[in-house]
Amino acid sequence: MIERFLNNTRLLLLGAFMSYRALFAWLNPMGYLMTKVLAPIFQIVIFAYLGMSATGKETATYYVVGNAIQITALSGIFGVMMSVSNERPSGTLGLLFGTPANRLMLFGGRALMHVLDGMLGVFLCLSFGIIFLRLDIGNADIPLLILCIFVTTFATSALGLLLGSISLLTRDIFLLGNTVYWGMTVLCGVNFPVRKLPMWLQAASSGLPLTRGIAASRAIIAGANPSRVLPLLVGEVGVGLVYFVLGYVVFHRLEIVAKRRGTLELF
């Protein structure tokens, strides 16, 4: 029992580390700097200035927080998708499906490093906001804010796992990833309140990660009581768990179908 637990933990951690190193295409100094550091900062500047020109200079915090939290999607969607779907072009999907290793650990491990990496990205963006755009986190409950960032990154990565599984069926992961990434930018209350959307889009928004996480982050930074924020965080965890389970089911189902048809790595 203990041996099995240790073995699974090793598999989870090693799988997380190895998949991050081997399958995350932006893991080189220039790619990381440009895509994971500078591009998010530029995104914050663009939307903060655009937003300020629409709603006034005093509203900068709204855009900085929204976009900083939304950056979790960069790791959560693209990073996790790459860590799942790049198995196929790398020619290792067949080997992966051939091992007796615990699938849940293998699957979950794909997201682990990206959750940490995503959180790092959010901290970086918030720091930029504090230094250059006068973001004030003086009233924030910092441990609760960190928990909120973790929960949001987990939920976004869970969606990334689902998309990664689906992308095993496609040739082009970037079209799918970009559609979801930009869709979330519009739908999740990143730059304007969700209530501005038509009702049917508000319903879609409530089923996506980020929506509650961004609302919770804004509330925490404004100094809201934890009791007001906790329901949002619980909701975000729930959304994340649903996507995680869906992703695992799709991954498992694909494995069965691929083995039955003998079409493991066919494009």
Partner: protein, 261 residues
Amino acid sequence: MRKAVNIIYTAFIMQWKMRCVTPFSAIALVLSPLAFLLVTLFLFKEEQGNTGLMRAVIGCGVIGVWSSVLTTSGRDIQAERWQGTLELIIASPASLELSIIGKALANSTMGIVSVGLSFVVTRFVFGQSITISHPTEFLISLALLIWSCACLGLVISTAFTLSRAAAGFGNGIELLVYILSGLLFPITLLPRWLTLFSYPLSLTWGMQALTRSAGVDNASLELTRSWALMVLLGLMYSGLSHWLFRVIDKQLRSSGEMGYQ
């Protein structure tokens, strides 16, 4: 001359056909500009006729032109290398430069899709009124912007081929140019020192010309001056890329690593 035009035209048509079936085109021409446009429209939802809105709507269209140029022109020569066709092009009597000029023009003109999409969504989905005060001047500004962007695409294409480090800049500079060129908000909002980097970009003058001819921004430069600057910068980009093409040609032939990836 006729032969050169024929090569450019053939490359132009081929590139259009290829890009029409590439999923990546949908990202640069539709997804990304549409996301910026929707955010802009929801931000300015209650403000009919706001000049900031009109500027951003035009800017969202121009985003498509720039994204298309950056993401595709940056990889055009590399794509030939990956497909194993670079050796054939270099060895053929038709020059690589002419072929890439045709492709760059195709990449840039495809941006018209984004400009059209931007206006259609704003007018028919969001019901916002769109008035272009001087349509002829607007079209001339758009044509010059597209041409100068194609010239900029040639510089990007050659620079990304010569330097792997430069190719890594792609993801970062896309959004940086949105900021520096004032595609979504006026560059006057930026710190003064930062605007120094806006001036060598033809997109900056293109946006000024477009907003001025649309009647949005009367404070910007006179149209003719913006046009002249776009032409000047376009010629400078062309001159620079011509020199870079010669460097590439020499390197490819002397190193013997033409297909090396």
